[in-house]
Amino acid sequence: MQWTINGQVREAEVDFRTSLLDLLREQFQLSGTKKGCNQGACGACTVLVDGERINACLALAVQYQGREITTVEGLAEHGKLHPVQAAFVEHDGFQCGYCTPGQLCSAVGMIGELERDLPSAVTADLAAGQIEWQRDELRERMSGNLCRCGAYNGIADAIAAVLAEELGEEIAR
């Protein structure tokens, strides 16, 4: 079986039972992606597949053959932190760091969803073609990533800072 992981083609023979998460952590020793619940309830295992965020714990590795997978180890480019990573450090968007890789991949995926004007449960007018970037939107969209240390404010601040940079103005409260 073959996958493209962080731009590299990787191969392995795995048990059909093996999740994408265990493939990453145990076969390829990319342990940056975390196992918090193994049942899709915490988001610590979030990775990007073809740019979209998913829970790697509920994904069977066999089902994702041939796909482009990006993990936390693949976010930085040329040794330079991804803007979201740098913002998490600056805004203290974590404490213990265990949910952090999932938060980061989720945030990167979420920013893509906002850029594509996809709606969320708190989008007032679903029919509107354009989504207003505001704090409640990003909070709702990041609610699939639990943080027991309670770094939620820092996480929201970090993402808002990245969005503000992109937008050229502050993100509305």
Partner: protein, 333 residues
């Protein structure tokens, strides 16, 4: 999780051939429910047939409805501009469920067939008639705060957990099925069964039968439809009660309405009684109260979920009132 075989199906027909050929086969969509249940040993298939290569297209029908490929992801459906414009309750219902990550994985077909979240169903150390017919039900006298008040039996009170299905039930969607005996269609309101004495039989699907598409008929009043979900935290939790609603006014008369409930039924709950009591009646508070009472007359709560009756009552009235108010104001939500 015990070992299993895995096959990927190129289309629905091939999937069915594979399922017929293999023992104890189950169809695998996004895996967000099945893989979890396999880890819990609640589901123990010998073979998984991956049906995510089935159509995921969302196409227009002649009359202005949509046909949704069963492999379309929940996220794709909720993000579709036509869905957002024509059926906002469907987009809102999907977006109210699970997390963005799960919605990116979960398929429409799989969502309809997801299984209950009853804690006793999940825990093989306890008794559950759905897992093991005849074993007994530990939820009846156990924790059943999340459980159903409609469609229950002495065998099972488990709630159907889907939000999307509630919206589709309100929209009178039809499921397109393919099986060894050929293709057929079923009203989605007929897809799920009430538990009765056989809570293990959850749908009207025949062995190896597969959902290949969901068709949503055109419905003008759905443009102003809504879905409101009440749960124990602000996001990422299953419904205590949810309400899908829409109305059409003719002057002061309720010309038509659709009302469905989540979190309260053993199946996605269409509020037929309430609808019947609303249609053709003046749009007054008394009408709403009578209609909601008519629906709730069938509720069979238990000590731990009695609150759902009052919550459902308030939520239905609040939502219908809002829809009526919106309709009077020209439909601007």
């Amino acid at each position: 999780m015990r070992a299993f075989d895995y096959h990927q199906a190129a289309d629905g027909t091939q999937a069915i051939e594979q399922a017929v050929r293999c023992q104890q086969a189950e169809y695998l969509g996004g895996g967000t429910n099945l893989v979890d249940l396999m880890r819990e040993t609640v589901e123990r298939p010998r073979t998984l047939i991956d049906v995510t290569r089935l159509s995921r297209d969302i196409t227009d029908t002649d009359g202005g409805g949509l046909i949704i490929g069963a492999a379309a992801t929940n996220a794709a459906l909720a993000g579709d501009a036509r869905v957002r414009r024509r059926y906002p309750l469907l987009a809102r219902a999907i977006l109210s469920g699970a997390s963005a990550q799960i919605r990116n994985m979960a398929t429409v077909g799989g969502n309809l067939l997801q299984r209950t979240r009853c804690a006793y169903f999940y825990d093989t150390a306890t008794r559950c008639n759905k897992r093991e017919p005849g074993a007994g039900c530990d939820a009846l006298e156990g924790f059943h705060r999340y459980h159903a008040i409609f469609g229950t039996s002495s065998s099972c009170i488990a709630t159907h957990p889907s939000d999307m299905a509630v919206a589709l039930v309100a929209l009178d969607a039809r499921v397109h099925l393919r099986g060894p005996a050929g293709d057929r269609q079923l009203a989605i309101t007929e897809l799920h069964r009430e538990p009765g004495e056989r809570p293990d039989l959850e749908t009207e699907l025949q062995p190896e039968e597969l959902i290949v598409a969901v068709e949503v008929p055109p419905l003008a009043m759905a443009v102003h439809s809504q879905y409101r979900k009440v749960r124990d935290r602000a996001s990422y939790a299953f419904a205590l009660v949810s309400v899908a609603s829409m109305v059409e006014l003719d002057g002061d008369i309720i010309a038509d309405t659709r009302l469905a409930l989540g979190g309260v039924g053993t199946k996605p709950w269409r509020a037929w009684q309430a609808e019947a009591a609303l249609r053709g009646q003046p749009a007054t508070a008394a009408t709403l109260a009578a209609a909601v009472d008519a629906e709730l007359a069938a509720a069979r709560p238990l000590p731990g979920n009695t609150f759902k009756v009052e919550l459902a009552r308030r939520l239905m009235i609040a939502e219908l009132s809002q829809r009526l108010s919106d309709a009077r104001n020209g439909g601007d939500a």
